[in-house]
Every structure is written in C-alpha cells, then in structure tokens.
Symmetry: C2
C-alpha cells in the first residue's frame, strides 16, 4: 500500500474550493476577453535551449528539467551544457516571446493575447510558496512601436477584473520608469545599476525603517548627500489621492531633465485615458516608489493592492517593456502587460477569510428519489432542467429523503426537487429552496419557469455580479 | 539568436484555432457540470512512487520524469529504483485514484468529478501523436458499491456533449464485460488472459480480414473449433439498429451462464434508463466487439464514433471498473467514467475539415478611430459596450479606416463601430455588421440594444447552439 499524497509545494483543492478557484479563473478570462485579448496556450515543456536564454539568475536555478524514461541516465545525450533537452516553463513571458517570434508572420500587430496556465519553479518549500502556480497574463505586443495609449487600457482591465472578483476595495498604483530615471539622474544617481541599488534600499523602508535606509544611502557605495537623500525620501513617498492630485503631483516635479519630462508626459496621457475609459479615480493612484523588475520594464509600471489588506502585497503587477523577444528575432517587439498570480492570491484570500461564496456548488438542483420505481420519472424531470440550462444531479440510488436533503445542504446545492407518490400522481413537483428555506409545489411543466424566476430574483438582489 | 520553436509532439495553436479549441473545452465543461459533476484539478507533477504503482507496461516506459536544477546529477539522491522523485501524470485516472484515496474522508460518495487537464507521454514522435494532450474525464466513484444505474448517466452526458459540439452524427456504442466473459466461457475460452488474446485477434478484423483472424484462432495457442470461431465471429459483429433491436439482441443471447445473465441484465437496465433520460435511440447501439482495457474494465464499456468518419475511431471511451484505488487504500471504490482526448480529436477534426466556426473571434466589436483627438470618445463608447457584456477592442492608434475594416474582417470580428466627425457631432454611431454586410447609423444610446437584437437574431437562426 502506497500513501496517497501530493508533492510539497503544490495547491490541490477539494471541490468547493476548486469551484471558487474556477469562478475566479472564469471572471479573469471573461474580463480579459471583454477587452479584446485573444487566448493563447503554450506547451508546459519548452526546449531548454529556447527557455534558458539568460545565463545565471535566480529563475534559472529554479528550473525543472524533464526527461523521458529512455533519456534518463544518458546525460551525455543531453543538450547544451549537459542539461536535459526539455524544461518546464517558469513564467508565461518567455513562452510569449518565443510564441510571438515563432509566429511573427501569422499574427496581427498590435497583438493582444491572454494566457492563463500553470508555471513551475523549484522554490524552497515554504508555507504560501508554490512550485506550481497559475499565472493569468495579458500583453499587447507591437511591431517596431506601440503607442503609450495602450498603457492606459491595462488599468481598465485590472479595474474590470477586480471589480467583478469582488474581493474588496483596491488601488491600481502607477509609476513610470523614465520619470524615475530622470529623477534619480537629477539627484546624481546617473548609473542605472546604482539606481537599482538605491531603489532596493528604499524598498526596505517599511521593513527596516527610515533611519536604516538613510544611513545606508549616505554610506559606502552610495555616498549620497543629505539633500539628495531628503529628495529621494520625499519622492518615493508620493501617493496621489485623486485624479486631479495625480496631475498636480506630476506638475510639482517641475521641468527636470528629458527622461523626467518624457515620463511625466507618458503618465499624464495614461491618466487622462484611464479616466476616459471610465475607471473611477478612487481605483488608481500615482505611487513613485513602485519600480518592478528594473532590467525589464522601461515605461509605465503597475502594482495593485487591496486597500484593506496591504500586507498581501501586489495582487496584479506589470508594465511596459522595450523589446519582448530579442533572443529570438531581430524584430523590435515592444509591449505592455500584467500578470495575476492566481494560486498565491487564492491562497492568501482563503487565509484571510475573504473567499465568499465558496460554499455555492456548480450544481443548482438535486432531483431526489424516494422509490427505485420512480427513477425513470426522476431522470425525465432532470432532463427538463438540464435542457433549460440548470446544472442538475439526480440521486441514482433511492434512500432516506432526510439524507438527500442533508447532502444537498452540505454540497451547497440550492434547489431540491422532491418527487413523491403524490407529486408523480398529480403531475407536480415540490421544490425546496435551501437558501431561502422556502418550499412550494407546482405543476411539473412550470418547474423550469419557477426556478428561472427564483434565480433571477437572487441575481437582482446580488446586483450586477450574477 | 536562438531559433524560436516548440519541442516535437506538442500542439500549439494560433489564436483562431485556440478560440475554437477553447470553445470545445467550454462545451465539454458546461455539459459535465450540467450533469452534476464537480471540478477537480491535480498537480501536473506527482511523486514517482505514487504515480508508478504498476510495474512495467507500455505507459511506464513513456513517463516523463522531472528534476529541479539542484537535483540534476544527484542520481543517488533519487527515489526508489534510482528514479527521480517527481514525474508528470500520463493520464487523469491515476491522479483521480490518488485524490480520492487521499481525500476519502472529505468527499461525499458517490463522488462525481470532472477533470480537464493536460497529460504527458513520451510517445514516439509521429504525425497525429502527441506527447502533451488534453484529457477531459468524468467519473462517478462509489464507496463499497455503485449501482449500475450510474452507468446509464454516462451515455446521456456523451450525448449532451457531442450534440452541442455539433461535429456530426455520432453513435455511443455499448457493451458489457460480464456479458463478453460469459459468452467466451461458453465457447470454451474460460481463461481471462486467453479471452484477452482472442479479443486482440478479433480486433484485427478490419485491418487483416476475416480469413487471417479465423486462421489464427484455429491455430497454435488458441486451437478453437470451427464452430466456436463461427460463434465468436457472429458475436463480435452484433450491432443493434434501434432500442427495440438492442433489447432483442440481448434476448437472442439466450439463458447462458451466470456471467452472461448478469451482463445482459446490466445492459438491459442501462438501456432502459438511457432512454428514460431522453437520449435518442439513433445515438446509442450495442456493439459486442467493444472490449476496452481488459485488465481494468469489468462491466459496461463505451466507445463513441462519428457516423460519417469511422476512421477517426473512438472519440470518447470508458466504462465501469471494480476498484479505483487499490494501491492507495483498502476501501473498495468502484466507478464508471469516460475520457475525451481533446487534443487528438481537435487535430483530427481539423484534418478532416470539420472545424466550423473557427473563424469567429472572441472579439465581437471593434471600435475604430479616425482621429487621435477622438480617442477618449472611442474609449467611452467601448466602455458602454463592455459594460453591456460585449467583447470589445478599440483601435488605439488612428489609421486608415479601410485598414481597420480589413483587420476586423481577417480577425473574424463581427461588428465594426465607426465614429467619424459626423457621428461624434450628432451623438450617433455607425455600425457595420461584417457578417450580414449591413450598415446602419443610430443614436449612441441605442447602440447596446441594437447589437443585442442583432446577436439574438443570429442565435435564433443558429438554433439552440448559440
């Protein structure tokens, strides 16, 4: 006998949680499609040579390699540097780059794609860290160029997704890498790598406190003046409180150098269009401390946080990059995109008790069975319900009605259809609404209409998120 | 520069095909849920020790093993028999067995689950063979016992799925392993393994012809009498032509031995309930040649074929088994289930030119842009459409209107919304319906209603498959 268990670092769910997870995936997909993004799926295995274009780096050390039974032990048979030929994707960005470069002449640019698949990282085993997790990405890829206007659609998508996910108030925080670069250059931090190091120190503000960060920036390797440090500290604390305030914060930066002016102009255009699309100003803000991956993003950058749960960190991040696929094609492919790490988000929401509605089944109706002789009748009623679009389960083995009700209750099935002797004789059905704790008997041919009315009322009560 | 390419044996699709594929996944999932099956997803990686419970076998030789960078080269560090600790699932049945055994006390039985994920097999590279492919499975698992009545729901699910997939006439072919066993025992083929070998030979009827098969069954290792061979040949040719004929074919088998009687009684009950659920009799038939995996299935077995494309083979197969998870638990867990190998089916349908509607985008409306100054107006109109539930793309960089129309046409986007100087001045929009080659100008606030009417008309024309 082998002990049934999953490997460490994966999230496997029981059906009620899986239903909740699937609903989140559906909401994300529906909203990605709403904004005109097209579906793409790529194989989980990529050629190692194609996947591992960058040398070194944290990610590369966490790659999972794949070998078929036949290839095992034949290390000499492996690809470059003795690595196995195949590896599991560790994100959806490298596969996107490969996909766009490979199919460049078959795609229409700007190319908008969404991709929602699992990725793999050999992370250190740790609570809340996953070795297999869903990423839900959108990107718009231009050929040669891509207007900054596309950067304005991204917050609109984020807003649509998280409004419908209904997990509480959220703020889409925006910044611009050019603006940052311009600002830091003006403070005498001209070197890109040094900027990165300064930002990394500044990022420790919350954890280590202001004194620690000031000391570090004044010390060896940085040697910044007190004045510069003051400026930097003031800069990274900027958060806008409204649309008008965001514009005012940009104005307050003054003329500055070229990079700063470019960044300000870009953010200004993005902000105006975000408003034109209809994103409420309470849902977006400037935040000059946001940098994201410094070697990758070049313009607008986004992070999204839950207002009441800042400790969860960013639940949706991304930005603008210069060139997606320089390892695979000479074409210049700038893009802008975001990613939602759904496995981690789901885990965090569950930990925080924020997963409402997880107890509602995908099954909407349970047709009970009181006598084996009634089964054909039960099946026929269930077929009516299914044809009308209701997800319906039939109790296939007759048993005590009480047990059948208990099952429906535990499973989160809303409508229980009772077909007893009387009902069958009279051509009626008895419906018990488990949620409203209501019960009524109607003609069989009225059943579908009655359940539709009940559901419509429930949806009306719930508001638009039906 | 690295050549961007996928590994051999995977199917990667361009967006129009991916949309068609996704629609098939959606149809399958919707119908699985319609019958009360609950979603389950399992990790792609399982512990090798858990996954590879059977020794030897074709499948085991095709397993992909997984190792993180750190584990590479540390063969001594590996699991039992020197194999790496992790492996990719090669089907959804073993993970189901592990899942049910692991979560036995948290699940309600009979447990109905559906699972639609990719599986991995190190197949020989060959056209139409995939190393990564989707399986879409349903199973009902009982604890200790599971009534044969559940076997009757399976054809109803198959019928619902393939009716909505709308890929042509199909027949669900049914048989019963007990009936087969009883029949073969009566022919003097009492040994289970020998039955399997006879069936394997009979399975070559189409490919090698009757003479070849007769000769083999009379020859060494089988030594069957001419009479027995006649009986077997007649038996495996049985196909029913209607519900009544199916029952008559069962009657025609006579009293027989106990196994035969049991098999006949089960099939009879299944047939009656399949009819009660409302599956049209043209969609199911008896086929006594169908055996499926002989060491696994013990009762009802199913195969589904496209009437006009028999060469595609079975597009949905499965059956009843005695015990799902004997490697992981002492509990007896009988079940019944089916699997659709969607990647292969999609590939075959595409090869046969049967993928209708693949040119219809997920994007329903394209809002064009004639002048950069109009963009905020365009975005606002698009937001109206999205709020009303239309998947809408906005042309973000103004260009020639002709090019924008051409893009919509190629992309399969049905409605093109034109917002020119006149429209903006008059508060109107011009809608071009690319499918009906129709064009009309209406007030902006009438836009959502007008598109709804157009879509409703299209759906009414298409029938229920909207």
């Amino acid at each position: 006998m082998i002990k049934p268990r999953t490997p460490p670092g994966v999230m496997e769910l029981l059906p009620p949680d899986q239903i909740a997870f699937q609903r989140m995936l559906d909401v994300i997909r529906r909203n990605y499609e709403r904004f005109g993004f097209l579906p793409v799926e790529t194989p989980v295995m990529e050629l190692s040579e194609v996947l591992l274009t960058k040398s070194g780096g944290e990610t590369e050390r966490q790659v999972y390699f794949v070998q078929s039974t036949g290839a095992l032990g034949k290390a000499a048979d492996a690809g470059q540097e003795g690595l196995p030929e195949l590896a599991l994707r560790f994100d959806l960005t490298v596969p996107l780059a490969r996909y766009v470069a490979e199919h460049e002449h078959e795609l229409a640019f700007p190319f908008r794609r969404y991709q929602m698949q699992r990725v793999y990282r050999g992370e250190r085993a740790q609570r809340g860290r996953f070795r297999e997790f869903y990423q839900c990405d959108i990107d718009v890829i231009g050929k040669d160029s891509l207007s900054v206007r596309f950067d304005a659609e991204i917050p609109a998508v984020i807003h649509a997704v998280f409004s419908e996910l209904d997990i509480g108030a959220f703020t889409i925080q925006m910044n611009n890498r050019k603006l940052m670069r311009g600002f830091f250059e003006a403070q005498g931090v001209a070197d890109g790598e040094l900027q990165a190091l300064v930002l990394r120190e500044v990022d420790k503000l919350d954890k280590r406190g202001e004194d620690y960060v000031r000391e570090t920036l004044a010390g060896e390797g940085f040697g910044l003046s007190a004045e510069s440090i003051d400026s930097i500290m003031a800069f990274v604390k900027v958060r806008s409180t409204s649309h008008a305030d965001a514009l005012a914060q940009l104005d307050a930066l003054g003329e500055g150098n070229e990079a700063l002016r470019e960044g300000v102009a870009e953010l200004r255009e993005v902000l105006e269009l975000v408003r034109a699309i209809g994103v409420p100003e309470s849902n977006y803000a400037l935040n000059f401390s946001i940098a994201r991956g410094l070697d990758y993003y070049t313009g607008t950058v986004y992070e999204t946080t839950l207002d009441d749960y800042p400790q969860i960190g960013s639940i949706c991040s991304g930005g603008r990059y210069e060139n997606l696929a320089s390892h695979y094609t000479k074409s210049k492919l700038p893009g802008v995109g975001i990613s939602i790490g759904l496995t981690r988000l789901f885990w965090q929401l569950r930990e925080a008790g924020l997963l409402a509605g997880a107890s509602v089944s995908t099954v909407q109706a349970l047709v009970t069975q009181m006598d084996a002789a009634h089964l054909p009748h039960c099946l026929s009623v269930a077929s009516d319900l299914r044809r009308a679009g209701f997800n319906t389960e039939v109790v296939m083995e007759a048993g005590k009605l009480g047990r059948q009700f208990k099952y429906a209750d535990r499973a989160g099935i809303r409508f229980v259809i009772v077909l007893g002797e009387d009902e069958i004789a009279n051509g009626t059905v008895t419906v018990k609404d488990m949620r409203r704790e209501d019960q009524f008997t109607i003609n069989r041919h009225e059943l579908v209409g009655a359940l539709r009315v009940e559901l419509a009322q429930a949806e009306a009560l719930q508001g638009k998120h039906a």
